[in-house]
Symmetry: C2
Subunit: 562 residues, 2 copies
């Protein structure tokens, strides 16, 4: 090439630097410029909660390469041959003229920068609700380095005893954990009836109980109306009353930053994010976009979705760079795979939740599989609660959710692979996954879950959700709620309204059970509950169901030993 | 059914009880009998090393259900409605008469047991080499509960200071760890040039170095010829000299126990294990087999293989039971997925190794990806060394190997799913895996590895193995071995014969490098080595390669700071 290609990238946090690095690798002669309006480059935004909590000790660790080099403008120029214009805002894109108007901090006028290919990596902006007094001091979002520094400053001054987190999503929960570790009394206020809207209600409820066990107050179905205070925030006013607060974290979500794209006349998708094709190309053939500012395709439903994640930004950046350099690479889409550490729990999910699959018209079969995450005789084994969402017609896996102290991310990654490959639960059940006692049970949790789904699909197991049982109990419906656990387990904890016959005694005590009533069997995890149901059905009991997930996944109150 | 089906199962450890439990669930009226010649039922054989080390405290934990019920004959009868005939050996199968000859311990004569369906779950037997004095006291295998008890007795008498492990496979390494934890001085003697033959040499070498860092002596390429001692073993005689030994563990492998099958005229496969179809049916339509006694199909090559594992036994047992009960279920095969804890390392693999793929005629591209297993700024992040084996023609993943302190099992499970689905590395590189700093880097290790493979497949990166570089150095070939790491890293550790120019300085120091010699670039993980190679190629250097895996995966000696 006689004229080196000019590539201008707007945004220097995640997708932007990735595009830049890959472009100079493929085209060492290219003139690559990153425009970053802030002063921090290529930092790990996802690490901010861990910087607030002190798990990550220094700000610069978030900006280093794995071998400890700080990714600043000098690094980019010297090591990567990439020009970085920091504290420089792109104020306008002129697609016809193939140029970007920029203004550096302190500049009195704008100037123009020509490009052959432009990349929008403008990211997302945290949603700040237009509530009265939302600008009071000590009300933060947790999106950039400045937010984290602001929060840390308040913490260091010992001025944040009571903290209210507005929003019970991923960022809200990560912020919660960080602030509890810093000694704050934290209240989460969530408008919806549950935290973590990406999970089904009963899984989210199990997480909520865990959060509460760490002293956090969780107020779901509660709407923040305004803030009160003089100078700094003192109270959060909700539709359920006032909460005192020394600090507030707004964690309502992120929306794509599309202002430049919109003004340049680029197509915006139905989700409000920049529309791109599989090549990460916008509606202008010389303008690419990647990261938190773009819309993705859901791999399962083929519908547009907005799931801003650092992992996706990196993949998209690579695809954009390959195409800028003349290749033909595609980014197929996402499944909404997510994982989050919530105190001692690993919370993860991929694909469709039950409620979403229902809404989309799938006939859904679910499987609940609570089990130790390693061979149960290993002292390091911890409970892992899995839920699968399966399409009854095709027997394909649609989604998976995991929670509990056990290793959930591994099983959700396996589920994501199964969904991507269009696997049925029958195929998943025979997957050759690694086994050794320190890593998995002989039947891996996801394989057990797939087998539970198969038992249901094949009509051997008729399940009923804990929510439905809870409703039936509340409505005082006439059924037998049959607990088939052993004496020691029954002594320890019981479900209200249950009748107790241990599985081993069931065959000899069938006459104690009425044949004209429905029986709902359960145990700790509902494997013995399933066996009980099969015994009862063989003995002529006609309506027998098994409660999904057993006591291990019961999200309501239990009766404990006094 | 007027006449309940009689199902007789020979073998009560893993596959047998699984078949039994599933059959009674599907056919509650079936008369199911398990014949077990030993006195222990349904125990976790894979847990024995952890029982020897004391991680698992009591023998009965290996025989319990997850809620602590001991799976003995009474349990099987009462809870499962399965008859167990313990200490009862099946001495003969009469397929024509559909009956099994049995003899209980202490019985003076045999008797016959009729069956409608027979299941052979006769397991494997540990290989005991026919060496002189192999019957001396304190020479054990580690296969059954009795072996573990024998080893524990010797340990408890403080009579096992020096232990020789014969065989450096999975069981040998698990036994090594257990015995080091009990304070023994352990030597592993392996006949082959490497331990862990399922791994490629250089990955196995990294594991070997880790084992040696725990004070274990590893003698590869060493053949045991005999044992010496009076009464109990005192010395192991090898072709390289004598080793003193208070105890010896024979961990050479397991062969399928096919005596009954063979005598009954059932077909035996080329691997020496019982041949079954995908329904787990033997050559006799009324006889099924499952577990360590049967031959599997390799999912990738469609060739027969023998990979005895508890995970596979359980899956096969379910399939056999479904078919016995009139269903049509299939077990497709295995990939040889394996994981093993070796001190602080997780060692895992799936699919084909490079050497096997080579032998099978694939044109292989490999990718080495050493990286932290979590976001690198998280203190809990640990190094994980990944190797992928890829088919150049189809770009499909053929195999994966992992070692290091990081979480390898998760990535190998993902690889196993990708191989099962026939995915290319391009598809794998865009998989939507879970990301959050406590669980993975933004680009998961397996995705980075897939991208390294793509860079090679697309011709951007020309790799050279550490073994080849080591040979070139030994042969004093004329090339530049270019280290492009930073000063602090270079100060810490260096490779012999290398020339040092940090990446950031490379563009300004090109004239120091000869254009007529080959340059092999590397860094810690070979990402900067790759960038260096691209810079050099762009500057007109014609023969530039990158050393796969960098210093992190260099399996030979290094020069450390004095």
């Amino acid at each position: 090439m006689s004229n080196p290609m000019k590539v201008v990238i707007i945004g220097g946090v995640a997708a932007g630097p990735k595009v830049a690095a890959k472009v100079v690798r493929l085209m060492p002669d290219a003139e690559v410029t990153i425009l970053e309006k802030g002063s921090f480059l290529s930092y790990a935004g996802c690490g901010l909660p861990y910087y607030v909590s002190g798990v990550v000790k220094e700000q610069k660790e978030l900006m280093c390469t794995p071998v400890g080099m700080v990714r600043d403008a000098v690094f980019f120029q010297k090591v990567k041959n990439i020009r970085v214009m920091g504290q420089t805002e792109a104020t306008k894109v002129d697609p016809a003229g193939k140029r970007v108007q920029v203004r550096g901090r302190g500049d009195s006028t704008e100037s123009w920068l020509d490009y052959d290919k432009l990349v929008l990596a403008t990211g997302g902006v945290p949603v700040v609700p237009p509530l009265p007094n939302v600008k009071l001091d000590n009300i933060f979002t947790l999106h950039g380095v400045h937010d984290a520094e602001g929060i840390k400053t308040v913490l260091s001054q010992d001025k944040a005893r009571d903290v209210v987190i507005v929003g019970g999503g991923l960022i809200g929960l990560e912020a919660t954990e960080a602030l509890v570790e810093k000694g704050c009394r934290v209240t989460i206020v969530e408008m919806l009836p549950q935290i973590l809207g990406m999970l089904d209600w009963e899984i989210a409820k199990l997480v909520e109980q865990h959060v509460e066990s760490h002293g956090v107050k969780v107020l779901t179905g509660t709407k923040v109306e305004s803030f009160e205070g003089s100078g700094r925030v003192e109270r959060v006013v909700t539709d359920q009353g006032k909460l005192s607060a020394d600090m507030v974290i707004l964690a309502i979500g992120v929306r794509p930053n599309v202002k430049l794209a919109q003004n340049a006349g680029l197509e915006i998708g139905t989700t409000g994010a920049i529309k791109v094709d599989q090549h990460m190309r916008t509606s202008d053939p010389d303008i690419y976009a990647a990261g938190d500012c773009v819309e993705c395709v859901d791999l399962l439903t083929a519908k547009p979705c907005y799931v801003p994640l650092g992992s996706t930004a990196n993949k998209q950046g690579r695809v954009a760079a390959n195409n800028i350099c003349g290749g033909s690479d595609t980014f197929p889409g996402v499944l909404g795979s997510t994982v989050c550490k919530v105190f001692d729990y690993c919370v993860a999910r991929t694909g469709l939740s039950e409620i979403t699959a229902d809404k989309m018209g799938y006939e859904v079969v679910t499987a609940m599989a609570p089990a130790p995450d390693k061979a149960h005789f290993m002292p390091a084994a911890k409970p892992l609660l899995l839920k699968l969402v399966v399409d009854k017609k095709s027997r394909r896996l649609l989604g998976a959710q995991a929670t509990g102290p056990g290793t959930g991310d591994k099983r959700i990654d396996v589920a994501a692979m199964a969904i991507t490959a269009g696997m049925t639960v029958d195929q998943l059940a025979n997957a050759d996954l690694c086994y050794a006692p320190p890593y998995a049970p002989a039947m891996d949790n996801i394989i057990t879950a797939a087998n539970v789904a198969r038992n249901k699909l094949d009509g051997y197991m008729v399940g009923v959700s804990s929510m439905e049982v809870h409703r039936m109990l509340a409505d005082q419906e006439d059924f037998v709620f049959l607990d088939v656990r052993g004496p020691a387990e029954y002594e320890e904890v019981r479900l209200p309204g249950s009748t107790w016959i241990p599985l081993g005694a069931l065959r000899g005590r069938l006459d104690e059970l009425p044949k004209d009533k429905e029986i709902i069997a359960f145990c700790k995890i509902s494997l013995r509950g399933y066996e009980a149901a099969l015994i009862l059905r063989a003995a002529g009991f006609e309506t027998v169901r098994v409660m999904d997930g057993g006591i291990a996944m019961w999200p309501f109150e239990k009766e404990s030993r006094l």
